[in-house]
């Protein structure tokens, strides 16, 4: 499957990645190659093989329902660019 320029721009935008225009072609080629590999694997007959959701053949471990995390707001907010009244401040977003 071949991705074109507009596919790359859309994917980059969805991932909020800035890609220089001159790099777009190379990404298109690289990602298309990856998809070709997937297509090759897709061609293998896997009927009767249960799909895996994770490479480890294990089940999720569960945690008891107990609060264990103390309040570390000061610590966490020391690396935030902007805070006020305990809130993180970000540029205005309106729906």
């Amino acid at each position: 499957m071949a991705l074109d320029r507009s596919d790359i721009e859309k994917i980059a935008h969805l991932a909020r990645l800035a890609i220089a225009p001159e790099q777009t072609e190379r990404y298109a080629a690289d990602l298309s190659n990856i998809l070709d590999l997937v297509a090759q694997m897709d061609a293998v007959d896997t009927s009767g093989v249960e799909p895996m959701a994770h490479p480890l053949h294990m089940a999720q471990r569960l945690r008891p329902d107990q609060p264990t995390e103390p309040n570390q707001r000061e610590h966490f907010q020391s690396i935030a660019p902007l805070t006020d009244s305990g809130l993180y401040l970000v540029p205005k977003v309106i729906e």
């Binding site: 969805l14 994770h54 999720q60 471990r61 569960l62 945690r63 329902d65 995390e69 006020d84 401040l89």
Partner: protein, 477 residues
């Protein structure tokens, strides 16, 4: 043209766990901003989510309550989108394999018919944080206390055909999650939020019309009004030659209208994929059995039993099973007093009226079930008349102690001493010769006047049966 409305609901119900779904941060409501947001909730690098056992247990309980299949193996997926109150850039949810599969609930429509509404699935996911847009000039404040709070998203089939059906279904789900103790269902605090998918189609058409999704409705009344508005908007649009656009809309309660959220085209491209940080959730028979071992009697079963065991009308049974606390209260009064009908009347009458007036819940009632049963016992054994019982109830409500104490302190005990009633009546008969004459000449209606006089004289305490009997005898002359 005749139009048919088609509605499906997605309900997000907050699970009543102590800690978050993937972290050990507490979930208490109303804490200072960001004091309950740990490294996992903040999406800091290098952290690993670990699933909360109680959230899984709650999901299983819900599945059992709606007779759904519980998936022996389900998968957590990342739902990718960017918003400041979602610091990781994705929400952990379930996509292809949810923990709860197809189930169903029954709703009762106005005319008494029962309709089955399908539940497509219910899946576990984490909540996002809160954005505060108003308070800061040019900035949005972010509180991540809610980030990572466990939610069960309950998705219905598009089985509802009117706003009223949608409300009946939502209320039923609300009732169930509270009965089985998996959520407090507090709508003011956002523990129960509804999204409605609404479309219209010409009656008789098989395929659905284009739907609009009304997001984040947090009251049953608003749900009904929002759907009502949206249905009219879509019909007007189509009949005016336009077409409905598939989009997300918000309900504005102040203006009673829905508005487009004008989201970007690609906003719905969530690019789900299995979360590599979480292994498949496996639920075996032992876990399942343990999770539902103490599942209480469900509302439908309780309603049927109240009708069968206590002879309640469908209306009373419905009313008294609205919440588990109310049903338990009624049942305790019914059993202690041995008078289920009287118990039903008192609970649904005086007690509910007093609770509504004081705006408090059954759990906060100053009159306990034992106290109300005590009052009913005193009506039954003739200590007080039914009329004075209301006064006794008021006394108990206002902190006067149990029924016996209120009767004693307010002197409300019924007079059953025949001699005392006789002498009272003798005096009244002697004092009203004209009325006696009227009665004896055949004017039966004047009898009520005498009863009134006796009651007035006795302060309402004379036993009505005895008063009637003695009066008749005396008036015969």
């Amino acid at each position: 043209m005749q139009w048919e409305t088609v509605i499906g609901l997605e309900i997000h119900t907050q699970l009543a766990t102590q800690s978050k779904i993937f972290s050990g941060a507490p979930t208490a409501f109303g804490a200072d901003p960001n004091t309950q947001a740990c490294a996992i909730d903040l999406g800091l690098p290098g952290v690993l989510p670990v699933l909360n056992v109680q959230a899984v247990r709650f999901a299983v309980r819900f599945g059992k309550a709606i007779e759904a299949e519980i998936a022996p193996r389900s998968i957590f997926a990342r739902k990718n989108y960017f918003y400041p109150d979602l610091p990781k850039g994705y929400q952990i949810s379930q996509y292809e394999l949810p923990v709860v599969g197809k189930g169903q609930v029954e709703i009762v429509l106005d005319e008494g018919t029962v309709k089955t509404i399908g539940v497509t699935r219910a899946h576990l996911e984490e909540d996002a944080g809160k954005s505060l847009h108003e308070d800061f000039q040019g900035f949005t404040g972010i509180d991540l206390n809610r980030a990572g709070t466990p939610l069960l998203e309950i998705v219905s089939e598009p089985d509802m055909r009117s706003p009223q059906e949608a409300v009946a279904y939502a209320k039923k789900i609300h009732q169930i999650v509270r009965y089985i103790g998996i959520s407090d269902g507090n709508m003011q605090e956002g523990s129960f939020r509804m999204d409605a998918n609404v479309s219209v189609r010409p009656v008789g058409q098989a395929e659905f019309g284009t739907r609009a999704e009304i997001k984040n409705v947090n009251s049953f009344r608003f749900l009904e009004k929002a759907i009502q508005f949206e249905v009219e908007r879509q019909i007007d649009l189509i009949e005016g030659g336009g077409t409905v656009v598939q989009e997300t809309r918000l309900y504005d309660a102040a203006k009673d209208e829905t508005r487009s959220m004008r989201t970007k085209e690609e906003a719905n491209d969530y690019r789900y994929f299995p979360d590599p940080d979480l292994l498949p959730l496996e639920i075996d028979a032992d876990f399942l059995a343990e999770a539902v071992a103490d599942l209480p009697e469900l509302p439908d079963a309780k309603r049927a039993r109240f009708q069968a065991d206590y002879g309640l009308s469908e209306y009373d049974a419905d009313l008294l099973t609205a919440s588990r606390e109310l049903a338990d209260y009624f049942e305790s009064v019914a059993k202690d007093s041995g008078e289920p009908k009287l118990a039903a009347n008192w609970v649904s009458g005086e007690l509910m009226a007093a609770l509504n007036k004081a705006e408090c819940e059954i759990g906060e009632s100053p009159v306990s079930a034992a106290m109300l049963a005590g009052l009913i016992a005193r009506i039954k054994d003739g200590t007080i008349s039914g009329k004075l019982a209301k006064q006794v109830f008021e006394g108990m409500w206002n902190g006067g102690g149990d029924a016996d104490r209120v009767i004693e302190s307010q002197g409300l005990k019924q007079i059953t001493d025949t001699g005392a009633i006789e002498s009272m009546i003798d005096a009244i008969v002697a004092a009203n010769p004209a009325q006696v004459e009227q009665y004896r000449s055949g004017k039966d209606k004047i009898f009520g006047f005498f009863v009134g006089q006796v009651m007035k004289q006795s302060g309402g305490k004379a036993n009505p049966g005895q008063v009637n009997e003695i009066l008749r005898r005396k008036l015969q002359g």
